[in-house]
Amino acid sequence: MATATKKKKAAGSAKKAPARTSKRAAAYTPPKKFPISFRVNGSEVRAEAPAHTSLLYLLRDLGFTEVKNGCEAGDCGACTVLLDGVAVNACCVLGVQAEGREITTVKGIGTVENLHPIQKKFIELGAIQCGFCTPGMIVAAYELLEKKPRPSREEIKAGIAGNLCRCTGYVKIIDAIEAAAGEMASSKGRKS
């Protein structure tokens, strides 16, 4: 719309228009790009991005599309990743802030061939409906179980309070995290 209006004006004053256009072009300098090197799921990644590119955009542009773009304002948790082992909203971290850091996405927690107990229980217990919140939810659950291996249901609710799900009503997600915690505890018990 804005472009159409500009064109009209330019047509009305044909002589002035080219000068104005070239002035604008001269005034615009693309934002400086910063080299960023960091690790994602254990692999070295090198990228270049302007400072205002969020870690979320940077990761998705690099092909890590398992990191979901939800609200982009730190409310929904769909973009949750681990930054040096700590769950954060990738939308509220700048790409440049990842320099030298270790990022873990849901694919770094377990793979299709070798699912993490949390991922396994999400599938078994029907904790996934549309699936959009799932990557962030699993990363948040992973961090929760790192901090508290056997959380109560209330503690699970608090642990995923930053992750919104519009399908499941959360009950099956809480069931799955609880079951995963149980499985992890018993497999740990067997090992030792």
Binding site: P31, A51, E72, A73, G74, V86, C92, A158, I160, G162
Partner: protein, 288 residues
């Protein structure tokens, strides 16, 4: 949502950060956790030319003991405050308030310096910092000064920092023996921000209340000390009646916020009720 382009600086020391801030002046904003600032920039409510990322300045991190309490570096995350054995022992009220902020991701990334500087009128920290009479330490090329919490929060998203100053630490005194603190809030359902949050610190002497300090957030802007209620409690017996009488003064003389989350009238009512509950819980803890 993409913010307008900005420059980026990542100083390694506080001195370097202060020089950069002086050079860029009003066009610069300080970035720490980013969980408040970046949403503001994405909503295009601010247009800084450059962000100065203080996130990797070691001198701004960590919790250390001081003569009478604790020094909490500006970069200390809410989770670190919430889970720190030092904070839990010296001023458990602050740990409790930190644990009520936002959600896990926000507490993992958000910092005490960032939250205090952002000065959101519905944030949790201001109530606790007021009740604890915390001192906010600001550094500038001219030196360092301490700003009492009561003078620090000056308005909605406004603080007492002067141009060129960076908030570097928060100092809190250890809560005295015979004291108890509590932070309670009525949270806005979706965001978790306080519609009314009350931090109370009560110190007992014998069977009576030696002093009570009450910080209230979310009700008016900026967060305030409920001094009328505090005065009404000094020297009074530690009874439910004195708590109720004092709590009735919790919003005395303030101009309450009125918005789609809650009417002014409701906020005043919440301030009274939550002050009474916070005082009762603080008293219970003071009695041990």
């Amino acid at each position: 949502m993409i913010p307008a382009a900005f420059g980026y600086e990542r100083p390694a020391t506080l001195e370097e950060a202060l020089i950069l801030l002086a050079r860029h002046g009003e066009g610069a904003r300080i970035l720490s956790g980013g969980h408040s600032l970046l949403p503001v920039l994405k909503a295009r409510l601010a247009h800084p030319g450059v962000l100065i990322d203080i996130g990797r300045i070691p001198a701004l991190s960590g919790i250390t003991r001081t003569a009478g309490g604790l020094r909490i570096g500006a970069l200390t995350t809410h989770y670190e405050v919430e889970s720190s054995p030092l904070v839990r022992e010296a001023c458990p009220l602050l740990a409790e308030a930190a644990g009520r902020i936002g959600d896990v991701q926000v507490r993992n990334r958000g910092t005490i310096g960032g939250s205090a500087s952002h000065a959101d009128p519905a944030a949790d920290y201001p109530a606790a910092l007021l009740a604890l009479e915390a001192v906010l330490v600001a550094s500038s090329p001219d030196g360092t000064r301490g700003i009492p919490a009561a003078d620090f929060f000056t308005g909605p998203y406004e603080n007492a920092l002067k141009p060129g100053e960076i908030l570097t630490a928060v100092e809190v005194a250890s809560s005295p023996a015979g004291s108890g603190g509590a932070y309670l809030k009525a949270a806005q359902q979706a965001s978790g921000f306080a519609i009314c949050g009350v931090a109370a610190l009560v110190t007992l002497s014998g069977g009576s209340i030696a002093s009570a300090k009450i910080g209230v957030t979310g009700v008016a802007t900026p967060a305030y000390r409920a001094r009328k209620a505090e005065e009404a409690l000094a020297g009074k017996p530690a009874s439910p009646e004195s708590l109720r009488a004092a709590a009735a003064l919790a919003a005395e003389g303030v101009d309450p916020l009125d918005d789609f989350h809650a009417s002014a009238e409701f906020r005043v009512q919440l301030a009274k009720v939550y002050t009474e509950r916070a005082l009762a819980e603080a008293l219970r803890r003071a009695k041990g």
